[in-house]
Amino acid sequence: MTRTILYNLIQLLFVLGFAPLYSGVLSRFKEIVQSRRGPSIIQPYRDLWKLFHKDEVVSSETTWIFRVTPYLVFIVPLFVASLIPVLTDYPLAFAFMGDMLAGGFFLGLGGFFAALAAVDTGNPYGPMGASRTRMVGFLAEPVFMIVFFTVSFVAQSTIPYIVQQKWVASPAAFFSPAHILLLIAFLMLILAEGGKIPVDNPAGHFELAMIDESKGLEYSGRGAALMKWGGQMKFLVLTCIFLNVLLAPWGLAGDVQPGHVLLAVPLILLKILLFTIVLVIIETSLAKLRLFRISEFLGAAFIISVAAMIASIFSASAA
């Protein structure tokens, strides 16, 4: 029991420690593909270090929401990380605290407060970005729900640890149309939620075109660092759900020996590295969509996820 609690804490430290590295590697790869040199992969750590040592300026016009939000945005991905399989393929101490729906609600809570804080400042760009983020958010919500329903229908459970075992049980299950369609829908969801290229340009610093970035414009010092780190952790957590629950639950530690759990760390990092390459290919080969085309992108994701649900229901009734 104490061991599983310890491993759960290791999972949190994994997410906490490697989230900036993940975003660093991602941006470095992108720069290399675009034949530029780009910053070092540890640049996000340096950025965080710098921001934590700077003074924080808070406008006197703002309310408590503005001050609380960075902490919420920082904490929420950690909650989710304690519910999902990051390093082990058996349930840990906190796994039964909440299911996948709870994870979705936690992430939604962070997003909600980030949008509120952006409106709170009175900066004209903040509310604009917040309303755009909400637009992407409410279009992404049904996709998440349908993906979640399909997964829990197939696995007869809503706990992510149990779900992951079902897909790899046989090649027929792994390659079933339902699984493939589900993966594609969730990948599109990750791109939308993480503010990646077909939906949003993470490298853009032009306020009028910003979607995700503009929420943190007013933050400085520690607040900015927490917002940034929280965003990076959220993306790492989404990636872990995609890789460890839906796509390929290989490389996870299978038993309680501490050595195996530590061995899982490089294996998971390798898996994330491969996924990074796929992401870079997507991000460099597509152009950013115009704002009102985003509804088509997420609409397509929704259609694909519903098709996955229908396929899984009918194949289950036929079998």
């Binding site: 027929a172 079933s176 149309p177 493939i180 369609l181 609409g299 259609i303 396929a311 036929a318």
Partner: protein
């Protein structure tokens, strides 16, 4: 007990089925004529892959031949014929004003896919064959979605591609439920399809030359003489 190899091949066939459905949805979302043609080629490749996999599984030479006919006609000949017959600017054209906008089209395509699952549900339950379970509903869905894009598209070439997508869907369902179909029948269909493409292509070329558009909705009134005579 099914052997591991058979299971793997059935799994790969199911993967091809999922991607065929995805390509059908992609054809509905794409505006550009060139993009629609490209997704048709991709879909045909997956259909052919499914024919090869089922042929390998059942030890049927016919299905291998069918896959080869599929690749020869849909992946090589038809895109080549269309490219030779029609001016290049036709491919870069986008259909901005569609009869029904794309999100609605997607929803309709989804409803058609659900309807297809319902229609073939009893058959799939009766067959108890994983290959039929994967191919029949998705082939049916591909057929219905192709028919829909035939109705909803305005440009001539996407309409033609709608016919070809319908044929893809029928072929995809057919290889699973009727593996012993005479080769000569399939060959006739394949040649028929190429002929359709040539006829529609030539017609479209002449229409573009005389009228300057290929939009079906713009050709609602009968003209006795070309516009240049006036």
């Amino acid at each position: 007990m099914v052997s591991a190899q058979t299971q793997l091949i059935q799994g790969l066939n199911a993967l091809a089925a999922g991607l065929v459905l995805l390509a059908a949805f992609a054809m509905v979302t794409t505006r550009q004529v060139q993009g629609v043609l490209r997704f048709l080629v991709v879909q045909s490749l997956f259909v052919a892959a499914s024919a090869f996999l089922i042929g390998f599984n059942r030890g049927s030479i016919d299905l291998w031949a069918l896959g080869c006919i599929m690749i020869a006609s849909k992946v090589i000949t038809i895109p080549w014929v269309l490219r030779r017959l029609l001016p290049a600017d036709l491919y870069e054209r986008r259909e901005i004003d569609q009869l029904i906008n794309i999100p609605t089209s997607l929803l309709i395509a989804l409803l058609l896919a659900i309807a297809a699952e319902f229609l073939v549900g009893p058959l799939v339950t009766a067959a108890k064959d994983p290959v039929v379970q994967a191919n029949l509903p998705i082939g049916m869905a591909g057929l219905l979605i192709g028919a829909y894009s035939l109705v909803a598209r305005r440009e001539a070439i996407p309409q033609l591609i709608g016919i070809l997508a319908m044929e893809n869907g029928a072929f995809f369902a057919g290889i699973a439920i009727a593996p012993d179909l005479p080769l000569i029948a399939e060959l006739a269909i394949a040649i028929d399809v190429i002929l359709i493409v040539v006829v529609v292509g030539v017609l479209t070329r002449n229409i573009t030359r005389t009228i300057g558009t290929t939009e079906a909705s713009a050709m609602s009134e009968l003209r006795e003489e070309p516009r240049s005579w006036r």
